[in-house]
Amino acid sequence: MVRFENVGMRYGPGPEVLRDVTFQLEPGSFTFLTGPSGAGKSTLLKLMYLAEPPSRGLISLFGEDLATTKRSAFPALRRRIGVVFQDFRLLAHLSAFDNVALPLRLAGGKQDNYARDVEELLGWVGLGDRLNAVPPTLSGGEQQRVAIARAVVARPDLLLADEPTGNVDPDIGQRLIRLFGELNRLGTTVLIATHDRGLIERNRARELRLVDGRLVELRTQRA
């Protein structure tokens, strides 16, 4: 599903943020990515959702070597990835419904066909009564739930989440992790970057840890 080989990443002439990162995510796997702030977790995610090219090394996504894949094929690869951004990145002028529906709209879907699914999903994350609310009127936790619903609505092959439970109370956090687990059981490969040790301990999955730009594997399989 995802393969990194000796990947290095630096921004401009600065020091390397990631060094010789090598790992693989199997299809249908569930993985936590941990590490202190500034260790390079967000940069690693950026490489995975094709926001940046690596400075060196080889990245393979869905069996495609990115170095040899045509740029025109990238949008189709990106549409197979759902991303929960740490800063949510919701469109402030669009309603919760329209924000969640965005991936389906980008894939060419018609509102009549996806409206029910989007409404159901928003109901599932506890926002069934806020369909028309725009993000500035939502709390941080509500915005995060909208961002998560947007990431999962198109049932992506790969789900990447950057601190997805950082702004919600533990009950909602656990409910959201159950949503990820449900999606994972349906075949989606999930990678969650988090600081939350409690969350990791409750969901004993594979754990990769980034320290000073280098990746170490702490736990390799589900308990």
Binding site: Y49, L50, A51, E52, P53, F74, P75, A76, L77, R78, R79, R80, I81, V83, R89, L91, A92, H93, L94, S95, F97, D98, L102, P103, L106, A107, Q111, A115, E119, G123, G128, D129, R130, L131, N132, A133
Partner: protein, 301 residues
């Protein structure tokens, strides 16, 4: 309780705040473009009317002989020229101008004193050629000259050609102004699109990272600038059209037009052309926005 969903499909880009200066600039450019287009249409029509008014006409001017003899008088030369003109195939009407009409012609310059009546005014003969018939003017001139040595034959080609040149200059000047305005519109919209891309960089980046094709993102910008330019230029073109209609209204109400200038009122078929200004402005904005966005997206990974 579930919130009732609003069923309208939302715009990907928010409405720009602070876009009024751009709209005003586009409206002003559309106003000027409409004036230039209207001027070119008027010049074209005027050139055609000049051509039609003089093209099938010959004017023969006979001066009073310096040394009149019983055999060679103004009257005898006039009669000789009239006979030749009337005997020429293709000439359908020959009208000698009366001395009264000739006096009226010079009245604006010389007045209507008794002295003017004593002036040896030339005899003018107006001949009308059947439309579509070509007459050998040099041969006709030679024949008339033989019968009336003090005559001049004018088929107006020199005058028509100069008027045509003048009208062409006006028309091409108007086209040049239109082209300059189109370039300025394209540059303005390109600048505004770039500024819009910067202002909405977060949206563009998000759509891009979610797998939106460049065409999808470009369409959001194209549509946005097409509509705003269409609306702004419709206002500018509308104001200019009102100006032309008002000029036509004044002429209809009997206000004297400016001497030597053609009437400023446009016909309905010509007014229809003015609709092209906002449409073309919108298309320029559409194309410029699309090219700008695609160029900017090519720079993103």
């Amino acid at each position: 309780m579930s919130d009732e969903l609003k069923r309208t499909r939302s715009r990907i880009l928010p409405r720009d705040k602070g876009a009024a200066p751009l709209d005003v600039m586009i409206a002003v450019m559309a106003f000027l473009a409409t004036l230039a287009l209207g001027a070119s249409l008027l010049a074209d029509r005027q050139a055609e009317s000049w051509r039609a008014g003089l093209a099938d006409r010959i004017t023969v001017q006979i001066l009073t002989p310096e040394h009149e003899t019983p055999a060679l008088t103004l009257e005898s030369e006039t009669q000789g020229a009239l006979n030749i003109l009337r005997g020429t195939d293709g000439i359908v009407a020959v009208t000698p101008m009366s001395q009264q009409d000739a006096t009226k012609l010079v009245e604006p310059w010389l007045g209507a004193d008794a002295m003017v009546k004593d002036l040896p005014l030339p005899q003018l003969i107006d001949a009308t050629i059947q439309p579509g018939v070509r007459i050998d003017i040099p041969a006709l001139t030679a024949k008339i000259k033989a019968a009336a040595p003090d005559s001049n034959v004018d088929d107006h080609t020199h005058w028509i050609s100069r008027l045509q040149n003048l009208a062409n200059t006006v028309i091409w000047s108007a086209y040049a102004i239109l082209a300059l305005i189109a370039i300025a519109t394209a540059a303005t919209v390109s600048f505004a699109t770039r500024a819009g891309l910067d202002a909405h960089h977060d949206i563009v980046e998000l759509l891009h990272s979610m797998g939106a094709r460049s065409g999808f993102i470009a369409r959001a910008f194209e549509w946005h600038y097409f509509i705003s330019t269409l609306a702004a230029s419709a206002v500018g073109a509308g104001l200019a059209t009102v100006g032309f209609l008002a000029a036509g209204g004044l002429e209809f109400a009997g206000v004297e037009p400016v001497p030597f200038l053609p009437p400023l009122s446009l016909h309905s078929s010509e007014l229809a052309w003015l609709v092209a200004v906002p449409l073309v402005s919108g298309l320029i904005a559409w194309a410029t926005a699309r090219l700008s966005v695609l160029a900017a997206l090519r720079e993103i990974y």
